[in-house]
Structures are given as structure tokens and as C-alpha cells.
Subunit: 743 residues, 2 copies
């Protein structure tokens, strides 16, 4: 089969996914919307979410606009000064990069807004469906989530493809990937603020209303008398749903672009050797992801099961279908696209594509491994959660100590899995025989890690659908509680909510794994880009050949070491700001809810309706104010260090920042998830004291577990996910601003 015709699959799969998302959206919207009481609550949540998103995205849009102008001017001036040839690399490149940045930002914002819109519609339909059937409720929630999943991945695929085409990708495939890096940076930039703002909002509302409602006033969670409860429900949507959507949008976009840059090196080899369709090596990432989308569309039809089945099994069924179809598609695509002109170059007499197919399978296997690792560490019933629950018997201090120990411990298996995946995919790729005849460099190894990353990304749409399932079912539970729905409905939404907690944790594990695999490929892309600039400068005579190219990032150099130290520090400092922002915003909520309890005495006996909108408004304003500082620190630190210490040092910041960020995010996500489920473990009556009595709700052990859960909230839903974005932002920012760091 001709690889060129296979490239047609990119727009076809992208459009198919969008049409399918529209079909799912129509299906969800056409469903039963339950009782009037349910509709009232849902409408209030919808209003609050829209109000926040409108203000948040207005702020982000303005920041992005400013960013684009600065990028255009800086890149234009610096590049224009550095090289003689100002035709394509001068001011023109500045404007192109700025435009790509804006397009990336706009696509990211669009997918966040649309996904969240469906999610706040699906919550009500899920609650209504839960009055009749578990399977129907699962389907509504999962389809609502899938709208987000398909839109995010399709927009990222089509966006990268369109900007690549617009920047002459079909004529000059070796040049275009470097021109579109702005797209990835735009996506990261939006994701950073979307995740920070949403993450601060959701956890401040959660922690604030719990502390003032459950702890101070002694009323249950989601009780309508608590003025903060609507803000809490709004938070699930703007944080978990819109935030994670933006996070995975930029992952797929940035990693896709990075893989295309690495493809350029193989393209050079293919061209020199006269292989047919050398450009297929550059298009490969786009095609693979297109097939991943198609696999996910098929898998959606397998999300079905029995009423008495564990809902997690229903979701897992679809995940396994996606994974298996992806493996098959990967074999097909590598076989068709990775042609070496009839020569067999790989080790052991195997063709090159076989080796890369192996690398892609390593990527898919890594994502499966992370699903199970996360489950072990954060789901009830396994040793870690049980350990935390046991420690709760001796109070909040031992609960916290135990949770921290578990969080720290999870780095072991995470790091070892990533290490094995990196070495295995690198080794497999290096066996493919892709050696540059001129330089003698084997480019297959690093391309192997790129293929592994692409393999992993094939399932992104499904993973994201499972993730959005979480906030939808969480909200459905809130709506059921709030509207005093039948006990059976609440029971079903509770079961779905527990599953949603697991799927949210899995997605974070997946995001971490993809960030780590991608780090290496984005880092190599950065080196390729720096060397492109350096060789142009050498050709233009503004740099001597003796100064050489960037062939290694030497940790033994004091600048590199100090920059690496700054990268590791940035991760902690950024997390500190994010965690503190939650505390500050929660304080504002507590003060307001307390005021309402005091000044509106009718609230407690249900004769007065609390002013929910005011709390929503206060949370919105506080969260938006608080997201600015950590965001600015994240963007400014690599720029300052890069300008001061140079292009080799900033690579040290990037690598060590990535390692530190991935591990700290692992600690925060898994620690937080384990604390959450230790509380649920106790609430489900699994904790027994020495005399055989069950230690359930309202015991000191439960109170201790609630403290752990509250501490875990900003860990797992604000700082942890924001770190995923930070890690990828570091990669895209250095990639785009590389010219700035070269003196």
C-alpha cells in the first residue's frame, strides 16, 4: 500500500471523530432530564461553570494574545540578528511562530470549552438515568466523557496537521516541523492556566465547603444548606474536566510535533538512500494517532454490560478493545509507512518496521502497566490503602505520616517502569539499522522512544473519556443528593462515583507516563533544533565551526549543574504556590459561608435559601487571581535561566526538571488518591479494631482519615496535575525560545 494514500486517514479520522462526538453529544442531550428539582440544581451548576469558564478563558485569551506578540517579536528579532538569511528564519519565522502559538491556544481553549459544556449537561442525564438502570447511567456518563475525549484528540490531530500543511509541510517536510513548535507551546500555555485555575477552583471549593460545612456546622457533604456546595459541584467540571482536557490536548500536540522533528532525521537518511516515500517517516505520528482515534470509536460500542456487573469492568472492556485494536493498527501502519526501499537493515535479518512496531508495543504496554500500578497504589483493598487506614486508628498524625510514606514509595515502581520502557524502546529502535551514512549516527534509538510515545498516545481519547466520566458521575451524585432523589438512584451514583475516582487516578498515571516518555523525545527535538540554528550560524559565518554543535548536555559543567538544580527547585516552588493558592482561596470561601450562616439564620432550618451564586463568584475571582503567580513563575524561570546560563544549561533544567516533576507529581497524585480511598475504605466498614468492632463513620479513625483526604485534595487535583503541564511546558518553551538562549 502507498504511504501517501495512508496519509489521507489523518483528515478522515479527525473528521470522523468530530462527527462521532457530535452524534454522542446529540444522544446524551436527547436523554431524559429527570425531575424539576434535578433540573434546577443542574441549571445552577451549569450557570456557575459557564461563568467561571467565560472569565477564565477571557483572562487566558488575553495572556495568550500578549504571549503571541512577545514570541513573534522576540523570535523575529533574535533570529533575524543571528543569521544572514532573513527570508524564512528572520521576522517571518517570528510571525509564523506567533500565529502557530495562537492557533494552538485557540484549539486548546475550544476543546476545553466544548468538552466542559457537554459534561455539565451529561451530569443531569446521568443522575436521571441512575433512577432506572446502572448500565444506562454508565453509558450516558461515558458517552458524555467521550465527547470531550474525541474532540480533544481530533482537534489536536487536525490542528497539528493543518498548521503543518499551511507552513508548507507537503513541499518541504523536513523544514515544517520546526515551524510548528509554536502550536505546542500555545497549547501548553493555555493548559497551564486552565489546569491551575480549574485545579485551584475545584479544591478550594471542596476543602472550603467541607471545612465550614462538615467540620464546623456538622451538616453532611453536598447538603443544600451549605452555601459552598454549588461551587464544589462546579469545581468538579472546571478542574477535573476542562483542566485535564487541556492537559492531554497539549500532551498529544507537543509529543506529536516532537516526534515529527525526530522523523526529520530519518527523512534525511531515507532521502539520501533513495527510499520511496521518505516523508512517511515525518507523517508517521499523525497517521498512528488517526488510527488510534478510529480504534477508540469502535471501542465505544463495547461499553456495555449487565446490571449486576462491576461498572469498572464495563469501562475496562472498552479500554482493552482500544488497546488490542491499536496494536493491530500499529503493526499495519509501521509495515506500510516504514519502507527502506527493499533493503533489510534491521538486526537479526528483520526489517526495520518490525523493530519499531516492537517499540510502539512497549509504549502501549507501558500505559497498561501504569493503569494497574495506579490501581494498586490508590484503590482500596490493596496494601497501601489498608496501611493508611490502619494508621488512622492512632490519629491524624500517623495517617499523614503513613500517606506520605506511601506517596514517596510509589516513585519506585513508577521510575523503574519508565526506565525499562525508555531503555527497551531505545534499544528496539537502535536495532532498526537507521544509520546516517555521513555521520555514522544511529538515529533509530531515539526514534524508537518517539514511536513508543505515539503508541501510548493511541488510546488517549478513551483514557480521557474515562477521566471525564469521573466529574460527570461525581456531579450526578451531587445532583441526586441535592434534589432528594430516590435511594436507589443515589446508590447507583455512589457506585459510579467510586469508579470515577479510580478512572481519574488512572488518567493521572497515564499522563505521567506519557510525560516521561515524551520528555526524552522532546529533549532530543530541542537538541536537533539548537543544532539547526548553530549550523545556520556557522554557514552564515557568525559562528566558527570550532565552537561546534550541541552533542552532549554535560552535567559536569557547572552551568548545567546549577540549571539542573533550578529545574528541580522550580518543581517544588511551583507546587508550593499552587498548594498555597488553594489554601488562600478556601479561606475566602470559609469566611463567606460563615457570614451566610450568621446573617441568614433561616438557612439551617431550610426556610432561607443560601446565596450559592455569591460563593461561586467569590471562588471564581479568587481562583483566577491565584493562578497568575504560579503560571508566571513557570513561564519565567526557564526563560531567565536560559538567558543567563545558555542553551546547554537550559537542557539540564529541562531534563532534571522533568525527572523531578514526574516524580513529585507521582507522589502527590498517588498519595492524594490513597488518602481519599483510605477514607472510603473506612466508610465502607472495612476497618476493624482490636476487639473486632467496625470503625466506621463518626469514629476518631474516620475523622483522622478525613484529615488525610483533605490534605490530599490539593496534592492530587491541583499541584499534581499542574506539574504534568509544567513538565511539558518546559519542553515546549525551550523548543520555541531556543534562539533566545544561543549567544
Amino acid at each position: 500500500m502507498d504511504p501517501s494514500s495512508l496519509q489521507l486517514i489523518i483528515p478522515i479520522a479527525g473528521l470522523a471523530a468530530i462527527l462521532f462526538a457530535l452524534y454522542l453529544a446529540r444522544d446524551v442531550l436527547s436523554r431524559d432530564t429527570g425531575t424539576q428539582a434535578m433540573q434546577d440544581v443542574a441549571a445552577t451548576i451549569f450557570e456557575g461553570a459557564v461563568a467561571f469558564i467565560r472569565r477564565q478563558y477571557t483572562t487566558i485569551a488575553l495572556l495568550a494574545l500578549g504571549g503571541a506578540v512577545v514570541i513573534a517579536v522576540v523570535i523575529g528579532t533574535v533570529e533575524g540578528k543571528n543569521v544572514a538569511d532573513t527570508d524564512i528564519y528572520g521576522f517571518d519565522l517570528g510571525i509564523r511562530t506567533g500565529v502557530a502559538f495562537l492557533v494552538g491556544a485557540a484549539c486548546s481553549m475550544a476543546s476545553g470549552i466544548i468538552g466542559m459544556y457537554i459534561s455539565v449537561k451529561a451530569n443531569l442525564r446521568t443522575a436521571a438515568a441512575a433512577r432506572r438502570s446502572l448500565v444506562e447511567a454508565v453509558q450516558v456518563a461515558m458517552r458524555g466523557g467521550a465527547v470531550s475525549g474525541f474532540l480533544v484528540v481530533a482537534l489536536s490531530l487536525l490542528g497539528v496537521w493543518a498548521i503543518f500543511a499551511a507552513y508548507g509541510g507537503f513541499d518541504k517536510p523536513a523544514q515544517a516541523p520546526f515551524l510548528i513548535v509554536g502550536f505546542g507551546f500555545g497549547a501548553s500555555f493555555v493548559a497551564l492556566f486552565a489546569q491551575l485555575g480549574g485545579g485551584i477552583y475545584t479544591k478550594a471549593a471542596d476543602v472550603g465547603s467541607d471545612l465550614v460545612g462538615k467540620v464546623e456546622a456538622g451538616i453532611p457533604e453536598d447538603d443544600p444548606r451549605n452555601a459552598g456546595v454549588i461551587a464544589d459541584l462546579v469545581g468538579d467540571n472546571v478542574g477535573d474536566c476542562a483542566g485535564r482536557g487541556a492537559d492531554l490536548f497539549e500532551s498529544t500536540a507537543a509529543e506529536n510535533i516532537g516526534a515529527m522533528i525526530l522523523g526529520v532525521a530519518v527523512y534525511g537518511i531515507a532521502q539520501a538512500a533513495g527510499w520511496p516515500n521518505p516523508q512517511a517517516w515525518i507523517f508517521f505520528p499523525l497517521v498512528v494517532r488517526a488510527f488510534g482515534l478510529l480504534a477508540t470509536i469502535v471501542a465505544m460500542f463495547f461499553v456495555r454490560g449487565r446490571e449486576d456487573e462491576n461498572p469498572m469492568n464495563i469501562l475496562n472492556r472498552g479500554y482493552w478493545v482500544t488497546t488490542i485494536l491499536s496494536v493491530i493498527a500499529l503493526g499495519f501502519v509501521t509495515n506500510v509507512m516504514m519502507q527502506t526501499g527493499g533493503e533489510v537493515l534491521g538486526a537479526n535479518g528483520l526489517p526495520s518496521w518490525i523493530w519499531f512496531f516492537g517499540a510502539g508495543v512497549v509504549g502501549l504496554a507501558t500505559s497498561v502497566a501504569f493503569v494497574y500500578i495506579t490501581q494498586y497504589y490508590t484503590a482500596g483493598g490493596y496494601r497501601p490503602v489498608r496501611e493508611i487506614a490502619q494508621a488512622s486508628k492512632t490519629g491524624p498524625a500517623t495517617n499523614i505520616i503513613s500517606g506520605i510514606a506511601v506517596g514517596f514509595e510509589t516513585t519506585l515502581v513508577t521510575a523503574v517502569t519508565i526506565g525499562i520502557a525508555l531503555i527497551a524502546s531505545h534499544w528496539l529502535g537502535s536495532q532498526a539499522g537507521l544509520v546516517n551514512k555521513e555521520t555514522g549516527v544511529n538515529v533509530g534509538g531515539i526514534f524508537g522512544t518517539a514511536v513508543a510515545t505515539m503508541g501510548m498516545l493511541m488510546t488517549t481519547a478513551y483514557i480521557l473519556a474515562m477521566d471525564t466520566f469521573g466529574p460527570i458521575t461525581d456531579n450526578a451524585g451531587g445532583i441526586a443528593e441535592f434534589s432528594h432523589a430516590e435511594a436507589g438512584a443515589r446508590e447507583i451514583t455512589d457506585r459510579l462515583d467510586a469508579v470515577g475516582n479510580t478512572t481519574k487516578a488512572l488518567t493521572k498515571g497515564y499522563a505521567i507516563a506519557s510525560a516521561s516518555l515524551a520528555a526524552f523525545l522532546l529533549f532530543s527535538a530541542y537538541i536537533d533544533k539548537v543544532n539547526l540554528i548553530l549550523s545556520r550560524q556557522i554557514a552564515a559565518g557568525t559562528r566558527t565551526a570550532a565552537q561546534g554543535l550541541l552533542t552532549s548536555v554535560n552535567l559536569a559543567d557547572v552551568s548545567v549543574f546549577v540549571a539542573a538544580l533550578m529545574g528541580a527547585m522550580l518543581v517544588y516552588f511551583f507546587s508550593s504556590l499552587a498548594i498555597r493558592a488553594v489554601g488562600t482561596t478556601a479561606q475566602a470561601i470559609i469566611v463567606e459561608v460563615r457570614r451566610q450562616f450568621r446573617e441568614m439564620p433561616g438557612i439551617m432550618d431550610y426556610t432561607q435559601r443560601p446565596d450559592y451564586a455569591r460563593v461561586v463568584d467569590i471562588t471564581t475571582r479568587a481562583a483566577l487571581r491565584q493562578m497568575v503567580l504560579p503560571g508566571v513563575v513557570a513561564v519565567a524561570t526557564p526563560i531567565i535561566v536560559g538567558v543567563l546560563l545558555g542553551y546547554e544549561a537550559i537542557a539540564g533544567l529541562l531534563m532534571v526538571g522533568t525527572i523531578s516533576g514526574v516524580l513529585l507529581a507521582t507522589v502527590l497524585n498517588n498519595g492524594g488518591g490513597a488518602w481519599d480511598n483510605a477514607k472510603k475504605y473506612i466508610e465502607s466498614g472495612h476497618l476493624i479494631d482490636e476487639n473486632g468492632n467496625v470503625l466506621g463513620k463518626k469514629t476518631a479513625a474516620h475523622a483522622a482519615a478525613v484529615v488525610g483526604d483533605t490534605v490530599g485534595d490539593p496534592f492530587k487535583d491541583t499541584a499534581g496535575p499542574s506539574l504534568h503541564v509544567l513538565v511539558k511546558l518546559l519542553a515546549t518553551i525551550t523548543l520555541v525560545l531556543a534562539p533566545l538562549f544561543i549567544r
Copy 2:
């Protein structure tokens, strides 16, 4: 002045310090020992401490013996196989390294044991002195601490000097530094287990007896009815005193040896240029430290003040005298020893020694900076502690969240200070004009960081004296409380105890700063050692010249990146094991004290004496069992990674492990210190509610602060200090086992 005669200062200062320590010890022992009740408690503490130390050091001695044999065999075989010349580098080197390891281990153990012996004698004398005079109590405690400080530093100085001399340092000064690295490894090895065992013991006893006494039984801290209280007092000595002594012993030894290895490169230049006394560049670190000891002896006479003075000022006076005398001595030593044969080589027409003097001052300034940084972050009255105290108003969860945010935040100023110190000292050194004429390499930069580290180490004895002041005064308070001493005595010991908390925190900041500065120099020493082996192999024909030397540690290499990831992971995993060990041991204590309360009902009304010895025994056994796993993980991980991924990759593990370890230790130490002092801040009545009422002891805010303090205990006194040791162990282990990683 002739540098050779200056070398005589090494044994002179070492012996003078030992004699001075003996004088101080006699002085302390001759003091008033208070009432019979006081003597009884002190005797019980003494017994418990001796019992623990005996068993702990027996275990450690056996482990060290095994380690020495393994090292001798491994180094002997591997080196013998690798090179043709088996005379000095073959099996002989194995045995020499093993012997050096044992001598280092023995010196470290001796200084730990003697220091702790005096400390458990000084506590009683301090308590007795507190009945009369604040200044006298300060002096007794400080002199007791100084015995430890002087012995540790003098033994490290004399030990390195003696083994250097024994291995032919005076004949072949360029070869001997590589032969004595085993000494540093032995010291680190002992320090690791001493700090882990002591750290687990002290915090398990603290957390365990607080939870079962204060929380469950509702009796005050240090109450004689609590069977765990003696174990708690014993813990202060074995953890804070013996543990930190071993930590700083290995710091000074390892960093000294590393600096001597770097001196070899300068020696080569000096020899080639025919400068007088080239060996002075190798002896320099020993001489500088000798002068540091002399400066500290003088400073001890300035530890005096008025009765109404803040005791911290009295201690600070001595510190500043040490620092100022050290600056003067540094100028003198650099001037005499760093001779360039009359040539002026430095930039701006300045002689080389001036530039290195500047680098040394940077080191001293860094240690002063860390003293003030730590004070800002952990002492009451500044923003961070106030913030945590305020957050306690809304319960334990917000207290914990706030403390974590503060802990994370402290990495910013720590990393920036270290970064500036590294770049400044490297730059100053590079201006000294020490260029190897053959290779064109400027070796001055890295030697500048070595001089800065040595400058910082000049004050170690004083810092360690201040540190040991902490557990002595803490114990004195316990003795006063336990023996129902007069209120005035208890008031004085309380004030000293608060100062002791600050000095303990300062020492940790100092240990962190020295570990970070030293990381870079030990890392360079490792590269020098690897290249020594590689060039011998090239000369012997077992390696081709094309394979080359180790000139860079390339983070863009997949093995280096994965090893770096393992280094960062090790830091978390090790901390997880250390923290969990405290929890497990504390559980054993809780169970036993509960049993005594249940089976000996007379305890509560003072008619029955609790069985203190049994708790001490249980804690001892549990702590010793729990220290093994983290210790083994720390030693085994670098060996496994090095053997699997090779000598370049392990350098990545070393560097990134150091960065991660230093930052995580900063988080744990400062977070823990801030939590501790937030509790004290509330207890002193500084926290005010919205109506202007003081929120002191027995309020919910105080209870929340107690939770934070308990969480911080294993952070700041077990995991944090153990990480200091881990970081330096990584450096010495790679240095010694380098031959194992070269294939």
C-alpha cells in the same frame, strides 16, 4: 614562610583539639551533679543510651567488617583483571581500600561513641547548673557539645592525614589521594546506619510516647508515669547527638579527600611549571581545616554573657569569632601555600592565591547565609511559622497543607544560594590562571569550588558543638521535669531548649549547604578517578585510545537519563522507608506502654514505677531491625545501577540524586522545623482569634499544631538527616567502586 613547615600544623592542631576536648570533658564532669532524684534519672538515661549504642555499634561494626571484605575482594579482583600492572593497582589496592574503609569506619564510630558519652553526662550537669545560673548552664551544655565537635573534626583530620601518610602520601602525593577514598566510604557507611538507627529510635520514641501519653492517657510530656519517657530522652542523645556527629564526620572526611584529589590536577601543573612546593596544593585542605580547629578553640573562650541575655546571642558570639578568625586564617594559608613560583597568573594582574581566597570566603559566606535562611524559615516570629500557626485555626488539615507549602517553598532560596555559591566560587577559581599547558584545560574553576567547601568546613567543630547543645539542653529539661526540680531551673532549661531547637535546625542547613557544594567536587573527583583507570587501561592495551576518556556526563544519553531518574527515585524511596520505619517502631512502643497502663494500674497514681527499661529495650530492637532495609537499599541501588548501566550513567545518578536529595532534605528539615515552632508559637500565646482572645494550649488550634509537629518529627529528625548521609554515601560509594562500573 615555607609551606612544608605549615604542614606541621595538621598534627599539632589535631592533637591540640583532642587535648582541649579532654580539658572540656574534665571540666564538665567535675561540675555539680544536682539532687539525688536528678542523678537517678540521668543514670537511667545513661544506661539506656549505652545499651542502644553498644548494640547498634556492634551491628554496624559487623556490617562494616563484611563491607570491608567485600570491597577488598571486589576492588582487588576487578582492578587486577582490568590492568596489567598489578603491583599497586591490583589486589594490593583492594586490601588498602578495605583497610582504609575500616579505619574510616572505626574513627567515625569512636567519635560517635565518645561524643555521646559526654553528652549523656553533660545533660545532668546542665540541669544542675540551671538551678543557679543561665550563663553557667549555657556554658556547661556548650562545652559538653564542644567535646563532640572537637573530637569529630580532629579525628577526621588526623585520620585522613594518617592514612594519607601511611599510603605514601609524602613520597607520591599525586597517587595517595586515590588510595584513601575507602576512608571516606567507611565513614559514610557508618554514618548511614548511625543516623538511620538513631533517627528511627529518637522519633519513634518521641511520637510513640506522645501519642500514648499525651493523646491517649492525657498526661503531660516527660511525665514519669509514661513508660516511654526514658526512651524519648535516650533518643535525643542517640539520634541528634551520635547521628549528627557521624554525619559531619563523614562530610569533613569525604570532602577533604575529594578536595585532595582535585589538588592532584593542580599539583601536575605546578610540577610541570617547576613551582616550589607543588605538593602544597594537595595538602591545602588539611591545613585549612587545621586552622579552622584552632579558630574554634579560641572562639570557645568567647562563649560568655550576661544572665539577662538571650542565650542565642551568647552562642552566636562564638560563631562569629570562629568565622572571622577563619577568614583571616584562610587568607594566610592561601597566601603561603598557593605559590606559583613568582609568576603572576591570575586575571587582572592579581596573584592566584587571591582568587582562591575569594572562593574560600564564598564558602564561609554561604554557611553564614544558611544560618540566617534556616532561622527565617523555622524560627517563630517570621512569616512562614506565623502562616502555619494561623492555618491551625481551621484544623489539622490546613496546618499540614500550610506546612507542606512552606517546606516546598524553602527550596527556592536554598537552591538559588547554592547556585550562586557554586557559580561564584567556580568563576573565582577559573580566574586564578591554573591552566594545564598540555591539554589547555583550566583546572582552577573546579578547584575553586573545592576551596569554597574547605572554607565552609573550617567552622564545622563550632557548628557541631552548637548542634549537640540541642540534645543536652533537651535532656536537661527532661531531667528537671522528671525530678521535680525548682520552677526556676525548669524555666532556664526551657529557654535553652528553645535555643537548642534553633541550633539543631541551623546544623541541618549547614550540612545541606556543605553537601551541595561538596557534591560538585566529589563528582569531579569521581571523573578524575575514572579517567585514571581508563588511561591505565589504554596504556595497558586493554582499551583503545579511540574509546576515549570520560569528558562529559551526557544527559541526552538514554542510560544517563535513566540512571538520573533512578537517583531521584532513590531519594524518595529511601525517605519512604525511613519514615515508615518510625511509624512501625512507634507502634511497638504504643502497644507496650498501653500494656503497662493496663496491667500495672498503680502507675497512674504513682504507686507503681513503670518498666522504663523494657520500653528502651523494645525500641532498641525495633530501631535496629528497621534501620537495615533503608541502609541496604541506599548501598545497593547505586551498585546495581552502576553495574547495569556503566560508569557514565552512574555519574548521572550521583548528580541528580544529589540535587534531589538536597532539595528533599531541605523540604523535610525546614517543614518539620516550622511545624515544631508553629506549635511553640501557639504555646507561647502569640496566636489570637478574631475576637482578640489568645488561642493557647488546650485549644483546637493547638491540637492541630500538635498534629503538624508530630508529622514533622520523622521528617526533620529521621528522613531529612539520613538524606544528608545518603547524598554523601552516593559520592563515596561511586568513588570507591568506580572500577566495578568500567567495562
